[in-house]
């Protein structure tokens, strides 16, 4: 009904699925980290480093960081189209927020790489 042009070529079904799948990944990561903190009696740097040195944990963390970026991109586009009606201001805000979201992934990647 609305042209894709009117909604920045966003696809409703795709966004709907992406929001929920990324939320599931973020939730799983949060639960895992909570479980790690609860079950580790004396958390030292060695244990912390050991956790992130495994390949599976690196993949899980990277997947979560990318999920956060996708989630932020879609979620904030929805929030901004609700509350910011001036299209030029909205475009600037979207750009800045997307850059920040990408920054999280980039920093996370370098941190993981360094472990």
């Amino acid at each position: 009904m609305l042209t894709n042009q009117a909604s920045m070529k966003r696809n409703g079904v795709q966004d709907y699925v992406s929001l929920r799948t990324t939320a599931a990944i973020i939730f799983a990561y949060s639960v895992f980290m909570a479980w790690f903190f609860i079950t580790t009696d004396n958390l030292t740097f060695i244990e912390w480093r050991g956790l992130f040195s495994g390949l599976a944990m690196k993949v899980f963390t990277l997947a979560t960081l990318i999920a956060v970026m996708i989630h932020v991109r879609i979620g904030l586009w929805q929030v901004l189209t609700d509350y910011v009606k001036a299209s030029s201001l909205r475009a600037v805000l979207q750009f800045v927020l997307n850059v920040i979201a990408f920054g999280y992934v980039a920093v996370g990647l370098f941190v993981l790489w360094g472990v």
Partner: protein, 236 residues
């Protein structure tokens, strides 16, 4: 017994901005009445007070207003249900005010019109008399066809407030699902194509204000969820 009212007043021809006006209504001790009856009595005090009403029994959907912060039909909302304090009556939120409690419902009807609220059947051999349904097929329309288009739901929905020109709104989507699920309708794909964008359906975030205020006890959120499922199923 005295009933205290604070009513939204705005006449764009005269007033620079809206204001709230206090009214007092004398009623017999212990007597309850509907908000619409109170408004009619107040209009006798002040003939300039404007509001819509027609059937006075919750069928026509004309007198949707916001009472103490919640949308509803004035004709089937007892004053006693609004508590003991002052009753604040405002027009339905989000729509332009024509005068006092009368709102311009063009945006609401424009969205309703978009979903093609009529049966489409392009079968080559139409039945001689009528399209028959099984009791099961007919039962699927229950909870959908009862909507009276009072706009209480759509005007309580923040997504409709922010995007009234793009989001269909709960009332329109309830009707959309009513035709999508109708066994006699053959335009399911066409209807889904019309709804398949980022705003028309997917701006519903399921906060269920619509369910909370519907004076007919309907569940637009559930219908919207079904439309989302239909769109999802044909996409995967």
């Amino acid at each position: 017994m005295q009933l205290q009212f604070s009513i939204y007043r705005y006449n764009p021809d005269v007033d620079a901005k809206p204001r709230m006006q206090d009214y007092t209504l004398e009623v017999d001790e212990g007597r309850d009445m509907m908000v619409l009856d109170a408004l009619i009595a107040l209009k006798e005090q002040d003939p300039t007070l404007s509001f819509r009403r027609s059937c006075r029994e919750g069928v026509c959907g004309s007198d949707g207003v916001n009472m103490n912060g919640k949308n509803g039909l004035a004709c089937i909302t007892p004053v006693s249900a609004l508590g003991k304090g002052k009753i604040v009556v405002r027009p339905l939120p989000g729509l332009p005010v024509v005068r006092d409690l009368v709102v311009d419902m063009t945006q609401f009807y424009t969205q309703y019109e978009k979903i093609k609220p009529f049966l489409i059947n392009d079968s080559k051999k139409p039945p001689a008399r009528e399209h028959l349904q099984t009791p099961e097929e007919r039962a699927k329309l229950d909870g959908l066809y009862e909507c009276i288009l009072c706009a209480c739901c759509s005007t309580s929905c923040p997504s409709f407030w922010w995007n009234p020109e793009k989001f269909i709104g709960p009332a329109g989507l309830l009707h959309a699902y009513r035709f999508l699920i109708d066994s006699r309708d053959t335009a399911t794909e066409e209807r889904l194509n019309d709804l398949d964008d980022a705003f028309s359906v997917f701006r519903c975030h399921g906060i269920m204000n619509c369910v909370s205020v519907c004076p007919k006890g309907l569940n637009p959120t559930k219908a919207i969820g079904q439309i989302k499922s239909m769109l999802l199923q044909r996409a995967v």
